[in-house]
């Protein structure tokens, strides 16, 4: 139970601190609104139209394909660092083969996406 008390304390202090900072900045900041300042932030672009409009679905599919290889990289970095240690323990071939199987499965995903024409941006 004591461990949970720490978590509760942490949560309370965390929330209280954020509220405190927001109140503090509200109290001491100068208040000078202008038209440009009140516009929604869109990476420096001048906003046009409504945000509730249709987007090209291609963005999402590209993002999904990207995520697969992003995750692959996360797995490969620690594996590459530890591979020599595996080799020292006589598990070098095993560890190498495991990663190759993993990459092969992901490559199937890439081939699939490619054959389905996902990578074409028309």
């Amino acid at each position: 139970m004591d461990n949970y008390a720490y978590i509760a304390l942490f949560a309370v202090i965390g929330v209280a601190f954020s509220i405190f900072v927001m109140l503090l900045s509200w109290a001491i900041r100068p208040h000078r609104p202008s038209k440009v300042k009140l516009e929604p932030y869109e990476c420096g672009e001048i906003p046009f139209g409504n945000a509730w409009r249709q987007f090209k679905v291609g963005y999402y599919i590209f993002a999904l394909v990207f995520v697969i290889f992003d995750v692959e990289a996360i797995f490969i970095f620690p594996w590459a660092k530890e591979l020599l240690n595996f080799k020292a323990k006589g598990l070098g071939v095993f560890a190498f083969a495991e990663m190759m199987i993993f990459i092969a499965i992901l490559v199937v995903g890439l081939i699939y996406a490619w054959r389905k024409g996902v990578l074409k941006w028309d």
Partner: protein, 498 residues
């Protein structure tokens, strides 16, 4: 226990086969109608994969160490007779589904390669689920099975009802999984491990007066929400009718047998291995859920006009009967074999019924029960088979469902418990109610006037599938002894005995 690829050969075959089917699907033209099953077509490859996995599962039974049970991947999965039994049920169901899908997708423009690949991956998930002995593994394989099922349910992209079914299934599934994970976190909090054997030894180590019984019960209840969703147990069954109705019929068949069997596998394993007597008494809870499930299922099945909806409520009711066996688990040694025997019989009778439904709906483009009028004249063999399946589902003697129900009720009575006796009486009353809607189909087939006299011609493959299921249903009634023996031998778990 060291790693041995032989123990997970069925899963390895399914993984490799699923990927191959996916690639084979790319080379077939996008909207190509299936026609005959050619070699190298996704259907043929899927059949080959599933048959290979089934054969390697059967081969596991000949290994003496499997009979005692082997643990793999650091106690993540168990290779024991119960896991192998459920794998066989799931794989056999998927083989049926491939035949059904080949018939169903004739003339429908769908992507076939992906369908069979996802079906194989769903089978893989169900086979891992039936062997999982770690909360993380249970959660992962349950979600794997759910996510592949959501996609399969929404396969008819042009049909809004299929999309609706998929979204409903997804929303219910997401909530049920979230509650289940919360329940699992309680056990992790108590035992600081996710291994179910280790959780069990922690739970029994509490002194009798210092055991946190209420928290354990709460955690179990929350886990039962996730499991109950998979086996369509009331009150977590509301997704079933809409999903069963909207999904492509072969997928409905998969959900009602393979998905449900895997769900029962995990319910049995968790209840038997973790919550042994002295930890928490779950019998009254399961008794209440069983009574509710069978009554709700049967009473709502009565007014249905759509055969898939009727079979959905019927499968909820069947889950209620199976839960009767689960409730008796602790008090009767007969209960575990009875549940497994009933699932084995249920596999054939329900897949058979769905095969006939697929055949009719692919030819008449309707799932209305009134469309079965005069089926006895339009396709006599299918009508006879359907009558057998309906009798079997109702549990009337000339079919195997009777044997299954007999053993379930016998297990409840053998326990000598008062509440289980009342539950068995309720189950018998429910069986009588169910005769009405099952026999309604038979009445339409034999005594109602058909709209047209054109005979329906099932394909050779469909005739074989329906004939095989009907033969199995009859054989299991005539000589049930080998199947009872099989269930008794399979009712052995790696961790804990009932």
């Amino acid at each position: 226990m060291s790693f041995n690829p032989f123990y997970i050969l069925p899963e390895l075959i399914l993984t490799a086969g699923g990927i191959l089917v996916l690639l084979a699907g790319l080379s077939t033209r996008k909207w190509e109608a299936p026609g005959k099953i050619k070699p190298y077509s996704p259907e043929a490859l899927a059949l080959l994969t599933l048959t290979g996995a089934l054969a390697s599962s059967l081969a596991l039974l000949w290994r003496p160490e499997v009979v005692k049970g082997v643990s793999q991947f650091g106690d993540m999965i168990a290779v024991d007779p119960m896991a192998v039994f459920f794998k066989i049920v799931v794989l056999a169901c998927s083989i049926f589904v491939v035949f059904l899908a080949a018939d169903y997708f004739q003339g429908i423009r769908v992507h076939r390669g992906e369908f069979y690949a996802l079906l194989i991956f769903a089978t893989l998930a169900a086979s891992f689920l039936s062997a999982a002995t770690d909360l993380i593994m249970i959660y992962l394989s349950l979600e794997f099975l759910s996510i592949t099922s959501y996609v399969l349910v929404g396969w008819l992209k042009q049909d809004p009802r299929s999309n609706e079914a998929s979204v409903k299934y997804f929303l219910y599934g997401a909530v049920a999984a979230a509650v289940m994970v919360y329940g699992m976190s309680i056990f992790y909090g108590l035992a600081a491990t996710t291994d179910i054997a280790a959780i069990h030894s922690k739970l029994v180590s509490y002194p009798p007066d210092g055991s946190p019984t209420h928290i354990i019960f709460l955690g179990l209840l929350m886990m039962m929400v996730g499991f109950g969703f998979k086996i369509s147990m009331a009150p977590f069954h509301q997704w079933a009718p809409d999903t069963y109705e909207g999904a492509p019929t072969p997928v409905t068949a998969f959900l009602s047998v393979a998905s449900k069997a895997a769900g029962f596998a995990v319910v049995l394993r968790v209840l038997v291995s973790v919550f042994t007597p002295g930890v928490v008494d779950w019998t009254p809870m399961i008794v209440a859920l069983s009574g509710l499930t069978m009554t709700v299922g049967n009473l709502t099945a009565l007014p249905q006009c759509n055969i898939k909806r009727m079979l959905a409520y019927s499968s909820i009711a069947q889950a209620g009967y199976l839960l009767l066996g689960v409730a008796a688990l602790r008090l009767s040694p007969l209960a575990l074999p009875a549940v497994m025997l009933y699932l084995f019989i249920y596999l054939f009778m329900n897949m058979g019924a769905f095969a006939v439904v697929t055949m009719v709906s692919a030819r008449l483009n309707s799932d209305d029960i009134r469309e079965y009028s005069g089926l006895a004249k339009r396709s006599p063999a299918s009508a006879v088979a359907m009558a057998i399946f309906m009798l079997s589902l109702a549990g009337i003697p000339p079919a195997a469902g009777f044997v299954g129900k007999f053993y379930l009720f016998a297990a409840a009575l053998q326990s000598g418990d008062k509440t289980l006796l009342y539950l068995a009486i309720l189950a018998i009353a429910n069986t009588v109610i169910s005769v009405y809607y099952y026999m309604n189909v038979v009445r339409y087939m034999y005594f109602a006037k058909p709209k047209s006299d054109t005979p329906l011609k099932p394909s050779f493959a469909m005739n074989m599938v329906v004939g095989f299921a009907a033969a199995a249903t009859i054989i299991m009634l005539i000589s049930p002894e080998p199947f009872i023996q099989m269930a008794k031998h399979s009712a052995a778990l790696l961790t804990g005995t009932p």
